[in-house]
Symmetry: none
Subunit: 188 residues, 4 copies
């Protein structure tokens, strides 16, 4: 099977999967996703060999988008705290402004269908974040723990903070800063 031609269709499927999974979880039927994409039942399988393939791709796309949002435009000329704060703000902005993406990502993160390889790749996308973290903690109390540990902590902190912002958007900025300060106290 050659590479299918229409990139549009491929993207439509990915986007439909995003919306559908946000609403129904990863158990959403491929037929439903296809219909949401305006594409036939069977076409889905010319673009993605398998439902798992689609899920993994979606996972990687979302992770990449999230990483890009977090890392884009980092003010390299400023202090570490400012850079980390910048990243934090953009990460949370992304997460709170696309609740579907966040929700779907949360679903996929715990899905059995996502392969170890995908998780590996996704991990790599956060290299920039990791680097920033590495520098930030260099002289701090967590200078000796595995970096991966720190990264995981950052991730769940961001996630939890996002939850609270979504639940109580009136105090978005307040929660955001509280979360960041907690993070900074932890590592620096």
């Amino acid at each position: 099977m050659a590479r299918p031609r229409s990139d549009n269709k491929r993207l439509a499927i990915l986007s439909a999967a995003l919306r559908t999974i946000a609403a129904q979880g990863p158990g959403a039927a491929t037929a439903v996703i296809a219909k949401a994409a305006g594409v036939s039942n069977g076409s889905l399988f010319t673009y993605f060999e398998t439902k798992a393939t689609l899920l993994n791709q979606l996972y990687l796309d979302l992770k990449a988008e999230m990483a890009a949002a977090a890392l884009g435009g980092l003010p390299a000329d400023q202090g570490l705290r400012e850079q980390l704060h910048f990243m934090w703000v953009h990460w949370l902005d992304w997460a709170t402004s696309c609740p579907d993406k966040r929700r779907t990502l949360a679903h996929l993160e715990v899905s059995e269908e996502i392969t170890a390889e995908s998780r590996e790749t996704a991990h790599g996308m956060m290299a920039g974040v990791a680097r920033l973290l590495e520098q930030s903690r260099e002289h701090g109390p967590m200078r000796a723990v595995p970096l991966a540990f720190l990264l995981a902590l950052l991730s769940v902190l961001a996630d939890t903070t996002t939850d609270f912002i979504i639940r109580d958007p009136a105090n978005a900025e307040h929660h955001r800063e509280a979360g960041f300060n907690a993070l900074w106290r932890m590592i620096a």
Copy 2:
């Protein structure tokens, strides 16, 4: 009087569900769970009206067990930091010593099948932890954030730390303390 409903069997089903879901996720077939419990296909449904019922029950049991582990034997006569540390240690001990329970709980936590009511009940089980947290942060930098936020942070910190201990058991104690110190820096 007829054969009484056997508590053993009930527990066997719960335990089989635990093991099976740890391995296959909440999508595990009831038939598989039944067989793992050494019970007939239909018997499962005399003990649990529905698959969802079983899942919710399992969720509540695990939560209760976790809360009990975390809160049992709290040294009320010691300082807050000591008490919180005590809780932290016992919580992580429980989580690292029953990886299946932890894994299953993680699965259920994000499952669509768990009702709001169950989550509510589970939340109530953590009241003791919440109280401890409340006192610990009373004069600290997070004295103004919603307690629920703090509780959530504690929970994901514990979870993440557990992950690292399981992945690298040789340094269990080290990770455990690193996690606790991070927590304490955050809140106190």
Copy 3:
């Protein structure tokens, strides 16, 4: 298995079956019937070897009761038309006053579970009605058709008339007489 002792229980089951089947059709679960009878699940099967046995017994009981209602107190000293009218009135009275019995009988009449033998036996219960019919049509236009045909016609006439009485009870007497007159015109 010896003859079980409690006739009460046997009757309770029969009566529960009557009510339950009226409401849910012959597909009603034996467990439901047992519970309605205030009897255990398994007891039902010490009184009736099989669900089919129960259904057939119920069928026969209802048929017998209906026949008895129709034939009881027949004024043997009066004319044929009067006797047939008497029977007609009592038949319809019975049918309209116990809608559950009628409904259940209708269900059983078309059930696959009722054996040919039961139908035979039930047929025999209508011998009195048949005799009356035989005499009534003796010199009429239907003197040559099989008696069974006539009996069947009488039966469906009565049934249909009952339907209309139940649907429009305000004109019960009117429908009843219209039905009888139609019958009489047909046969005499």
Copy 4:
């Protein structure tokens, strides 16, 4: 364009349902019907959303066919008695020549699965018969009873007569005329 939904297959399923239900009643398993239709288990559900849908469709089809048989080619230029007789003959011809259809229709008529709407629609198909009946009874003894009552009587008369023809086909014509004469005496 994909393989179009095959009318053949649809009809095969309907026909298999007809045969299977005639033999086993409306409790017949969808799997059995599918196999009888030479179709996969799941295909049945691409043609009929639900077992109930299939049953209702079958009911309507049979009713329509029966009505068409009864009303087709009505000699409008002849007297009422002749027209009614014509209808009677054709109705009975249809019923006796397709015993399966008749049997299945009888089963469906009393099934819980047939919706009120289907019954309504089916009722409408008999409008032609109703009209004929209306005219026939206009000056007769039943001129005052509800037309629906008459229609019901006609229906059970036809049904009962069919039974006897099937049971004793040697005297088909005889039974047929006896039935018709009884009907005519009743209404005209």
